[in-house]
Subunit: 315 residues, 2 copies
């Protein structure tokens, strides 16, 4: 048994059992991958993959267990590398953040700038995506830290910690009739053409739920994945926008857009910070989390991550 065999099996499982792709992804030859996997199966005495003729069809039952163990092993191999870097190249490295547009565009600039000042030798990589892509990037260990409002809870392998609470705001041109209404109602909004996030995104679920509960069928004339795009179309008169409040905070009050909070209609959302269980975090990841909010202290995160049941069950 060797680590290479484990990497091959792991990658093959992630790549729909296609060994050709697996070989490419790991920069090696396809026959090498095939042989290595066969040898591991031989050594363990079981089939990890069920074969149909010369194709891999699916993962066997023992294969499932094998994959779980391999996942842990490779995670810890990654941790060994991280340990090396943490001590050998203190305050040098890469902070990989998976996040949605709202955070990347409106919330992160400040803390990222501060982090860069404190850790000039740490490069920051922003990965933007939908909440479920954020979760996937954490699971794949592509990102160290994930920031999003949905989906980051709901995976056993992930731990998520509440970060801040936010509500939606309705945005419209200052000349719009609704711009003068202090407290908007669901009916007000349902009558307007709406511009908001794509359903896979930040809090859109909450919006749909609210309308559905009141049996209203609003017309979404445009769905986008980011608030800048939405605001642009609102300016163009396409309709009333529904965006996260952070997207308006920096907006010039003398500008051309008016906005009203609508948390009373769609409820309040909780943005969360997420990590993958078992993956070692470099010290600057903790530092960055603290920059996101005082509450996100290192001990809190370690407690959340290190969850283990009590040692002894009592009678």
């Amino acid at each position: 048994m060797n680590l290479q065999q484990l990497r091959f099996v792991h990658e093959a499982a992630r790549r729909n059992l296609n060994l050709t792709e697996t070989a490419k992804a790991l920069f090696t030859s396809q026959p090498g991958v095939s042989k290595a996997i066969l040898e591991l199966e031989e050594e363990l005495g079981i089939d990890i993959f069920e074969r149909h003729g010369k194709r891999l069809r699916r993962i066997t039952e023992p294969g499932q267990s094998v994959l779980r163990a391999i996942e842990i092993i490779l995670r810890e191999v990654g941790n060994l590398r991280r340990i090396g870097e943490e001590y050998a190249k203190q305050d040098t490295g890469r902070l990989s953040i998976a996040t949605t547009h709202s955070q990347a565009r409106y919330v992160l600039p400040q803390p990222v700038a501060t982090l860069r000042q404190r850790f000039p030798r740490v490069n920051v990589v922003l990965h933007q995506g939908s909440p479920s892509q954020v979760a996937q990037m954490l699971l794949d260990e592509v990102a160290d830290i994930g920031l999003a409002t949905e989906t980051v809870s709901g995976f056993d392998a992930l731990v998520s910690i509440p970060w801040y609470e936010w509500q939606h705001v309705a945005v419209m041109p200052k000349a719009h009739p609704l711009a003068g209404v202090e407290r908007l109602s669901l009916d007000d909004l349902a009558r307007e053409p709406l511009v908001s996030y794509h359903p896979s995104f930040t809090g859109r679920t909450a919006i749909d739920r609210a309308f559905a509960t009141h049996r209203l069928e609003p017309q979404f004339v445009l769905e986008a994945i980011d608030a800048d795009v939405i605001k642009t179309y609102v300016r163009g008169g396409l309709g009333v926008g529904l965006v996260a409040e952070v997207a308006m905070r920096e907006e010039n009050p003398d500008g051309d857009l008016a906005w009203r909070p609508v948390g009373h209609l769609f409820g309040h959302n909780v943005a969360r910070v997420a990590f993958k269980r078992g993956v070692m975090l470099r010290s600057y990841v903790f530092a960055f989390a603290e920059l996101l909010g005082d509450r996100l202290s290192r001990p809190l995160i370690e407690r959340a991550l290190g969850g283990q049941a009590s040692t002894a069950y009592e009678l």
Copy 2:
């Protein structure tokens, strides 16, 4: 990086940083071990061991972290092997039990016999030792299951589950004056020469504590690690024996020994079944646990072992 390097580091840490011994234990050459470790350190960019001239003096701080990761990796490599055997050689294998004399001699014969009937191809290995040796055998993954009254709780890496409650009994020749006393007192016993377990053993702690609390200083004329030895000396008139009640259950009532329960003096003890966290258990280990007591069902054990904190921390 390869698994061999990790094995060497792991073993070296367990063998007082002596690479010569490490090499012997792993059936390889000493220079090979040395080189492999140096190469791993080189690759990770850190020193795992602090060297003084040409000797390893101690484990560095990053080395501590490295060892934790290695421990997990090697544990899972062991699990991979176990998975292979579980599926390839169903109901064939080895059940390794670490236990104290009392259990091995008086409690286990029945369940072990039943297990052998149900799993004729599973060989049973009994490792006898003190409670702390039992714990160590679990930690070293020499034993799959540990049975003892003390010390098996108190290690983070171990999970222990209550098995049965027991009390001590005082044993004496039938002709002994105390044989007629229905309810013995601490004073009664403190006046007699006593024969009992060695301090490292089964429940002896409770005995010492009880006497100490009442400021009594009993005379232990003989300390042994097993009840058979103790009973033999009691027969020989050396003194009154204090043993676990299981040791007397099978004693012929028409024999030469009388005994009285003394739980009211020394309290009640709890024998526990213990496992090492993260180590996969073959199906027959669960079967054996159920033979030890109905309460020790597979789901209960899995719940105890699989302890993970909740995924999300709430505000």
